[in-house]
């Protein structure tokens, strides 16, 4: 492999490793097991949401509703738990809410032919409105069932339960996207819909599945957020929209350049969270963190855009 193509495939990943090594050397307590597990726990929320977004993008659709759908699912869960409904039912309702919103997006895009950029923005706004309607703007807060909170706060030995669940989910997502016929069909749909159609792939179902998986990921993240914070509020996942897109774009600059991929998204999310954690450990003030995140987003978009452009010219 030539150096240029090696850097194209692994450049961002190597930059992430360089950041990791830098923090290992210079950030006090960064290398402690507790902190590394803390980083993995923090990346859980972002990576699952971003991987959902990645699935929609693999099928060449944008899902800009995932953050607000996640907040709505969280509010549904919080609302039911605070009414003394058994938490497994509340969790099921939250997952159904997320998946339902994803399926609705799929319907709007494939049946009504509304571009996903528009339809998911619409869904996002509706989800936001419904979340405020349910809560009246007041968060559901309580000292809820310990078994439920164990999902978000519990540990098996030193390892947070959330980390174990997230790693399992990422492994499933990776296998689904790369090792199964469905995953291959979704990728083919995303790369060239017409060619995929002609070769007998049901591209409509692939797009619906991509958007539904994004919704399901939003529902899952909602469960984890509510269990971690013992509360549910409208817009509680609002910050994840920008970071989730940034993680996915960062992911598109590595492993399979210009293509959304699960592993790349996870590493992208990891880089964002490591940076955030590292800056705190290095003693950086709050404004430095916002500036750094902004730079990361701009650079990742610029790099992925140039890779995309090159890929487009190569066609």
């Amino acid at each position: 492999m030539r150096l240029k193509s090696f850097i194209e495939i692994y450049g961002t990943f190597l930059a992430g490793i360089a950041l990791f090594v830098f923090l290992l050397i210079f950030a006090r307590n960064f290398a402690s097991t507790a902190n590394l597990l803390n980083v993995l726990k923090q990346v859980s929320f972002l990576s699952i949401l971003a991987i959902g977004f990645t699935f929609a993008l693999i099928a060449a659709e944008l899902d800009l509703s995932f953050a607000n759908v996640c907040s709505l699912s969280a509010v549904v869960i919080g609302s039911l738990i605070s009414r003394d409904i058994a938490w497994p039912l509340a969790v099921a309702a939250g997952l159904a809410m997320g998946t339902g919103a994803g399926l609705l997006n799929g319907f709007l895009v494939t049946v009504l032919k509304v571009p996903s950029l528009i339809s998911t923005l619409g869904t996002s706004s509706v989800a936001n409105g419904v979340a405020f309607m349910i809560t009246g703007g007041v968060a559901f807060v309580g000292r809820w069932d310990k078994d439920f909170l164990f999902i978000g706060r519990g540990k098996l030995g030193p390892v947070p339960v959330l980390v174990i669940i997230t790693l399992v989910l990422i492994a499933i997502a990776f296998v689904l996207s790369t090792q199964t016929r469905t995953g291959v069909h979704m990728q083919a749909t995303g790369e060239n819909e017409e060619a995929a159609n002609r070769s007998g792939i049901n591209t409509r179902n692939c797009k619906i599945l991509g958007l539904a998986l994004s919704g399901l990921a939003a529902g899952l993240t909602a469960v984890f957020l509510v269990a971690n914070l013992s509360s549910a509020a409208p817009q509680m996942a609002g910050d994840f929209l920008l970071n989730g897109i940034a993680a996915t774009l960062l992911g598109m600059t590595m492993f399979t350049p210009a293509k959304p991929n699960v592993l790349g998204t996870f590493v992208g999310a990891l880089i964002i969270v490591i940076l955030s954690n590292g800056l705190v450990l290095l003693g950086a003030q709050y404004y430095i963190q916002d500036i750094m995140l902004g730079i990361i987003i701009v650079v990742s978009v610029a790099v992925s855009a140039s890779v995309l452009k090159r890929a487009a010219f190569a066609l």
Partner: protein, 315 residues
């Protein structure tokens, strides 16, 4: 190759400089939940400045109104093994897990206007019930205890919610005063737009039919003051009363063009100074917490400010 060496050397020097900055005697973590609210910014900045006067390092973080960001920042500061934590307007139930982890790690936590937690030392706060009663009765006094009023609430914050509930008690005992319009601020991230949209509608609907406006905090009152002035109202047409205090509010109480009538000034700077002083006494000098603050709250007095005494507060 020379370029690479230069870059590596520069990164190394930067890293060593940052690492050196971490090795201080007392490392204070300061987190404000939403620094776009002036009171929280004042609080966090004063804590930082006071800590630096003692020769401590103070790392100030802003959670931008995001629950998950706040939780992550607390987790990161605990992993950093800061010597102490002072939190401005935090939320004890939502971050119970983080507060408990801090306690287990031996990190003393003092909160400001946040509410009590079994895992923190105490909360430095004004007595919300007294302040709320003062502002409500003052407003009713300015309209001679009869006529219509508009109310701007905020239910998601414990202190602001208490203020609204005390107002209701005062109104119940004064049936000649009627609330003809009430808006509850729901969005914490875009709260300014929320207040502007909600109150502009109420002001239009009730034009000429109200004599007073009560707002749960001064940030809301400033927006309402602008709306009233845009509506052509002059000082004295309507009484506008709120709670918090700050130079801009004092300036407007004095300003003949503004409708801002009175506020209850919370001494955020004094509260922040008090939190740092107490942290020093407990964490550095070894004084027992119970010798300083017997219960979960350290109350600080607040003062009603109107045209009669505003000059004392204006700087």
């Amino acid at each position: 190759m020379n370029k690479f060496k230069t870059i590596a050397a520069a990164i190394g020097v930067a890293g060593m400089a940052m690492a050196a900055g971490q090795a201080q005697a007392f490392d204070l973590g300061v987190v404000a939940f939403q620094m776009s609210a002036e009171t929280q910014a004042r609080c966090a900045k004063t804590v930082g400045a006071e800590a630096e006067k003692l020769g401590w390092t103070a790392q100030v973080l802003n959670s931008n109104g995001s629950l998950e960001t706040h939780a992550s920042q607390l987790d990161n500061l605990i992993q950093k093994k800061v010597s102490g934590l002072i939190l401005c307007m935090s939320k004890p139930v939502q971050f119970d897990g983080q507060f408990e982890a801090a306690k287990k790690a031996g990190i003393p936590v003092i909160t400001i206007s946040s509410g009590a937690s079994p895992h923190t030392l105490f909360d430095v706060t004004p007595n919300e019930y007294i302040m709320a009663a003062e502002s409500a009765i003052y407003l009713l006094g300015t309209i001679n205890f009869e006529g219509n009023v508009l109310v701007q609430r905020f239910e998601s914050n414990t202190g602001a919610r208490i203020r609204g509930e005390v107002l209701d008690v005062v109104l119940k005992e004064n049936p000649a005063v009627k609330v003809v319009g009430s808006h509850s601020m729901a969005r914490t991230k875009s709260w300014m737009d929320d207040v502007r949209n909600g109150m502009s509608a109420l002001i239009l609907q009730n034009a000429g039919n109200f004599k007073g406006v009560w707002a749960s905090f001064d940030g809301q009152a400033l927006i309402i003051d602008d709306l009233l002035r845009e509506g052509g109202l002059k000082k004295g047409d309507v009484s506008l009363v709120s709670i918090d205090g700050g130079q801009e509010v004092y300036r407007r109480i004095k300003d003949p063009e503004s409708l801002m009538t009175a506020t209850v000034a919370i001494p955020f700077e004094d509260m922040a100074k008090s939190a740092v002083t107490m942290m020093k006494k407990i964490a550095v000098d070894g004084v027992a917490k119970t010798d300083l603050v017997p219960g979960p709250y350290l109350f600080t007095p607040a003062t009603l400010v109107d045209k009669s005494n505003v000059d004392k507060f204006l700087k």
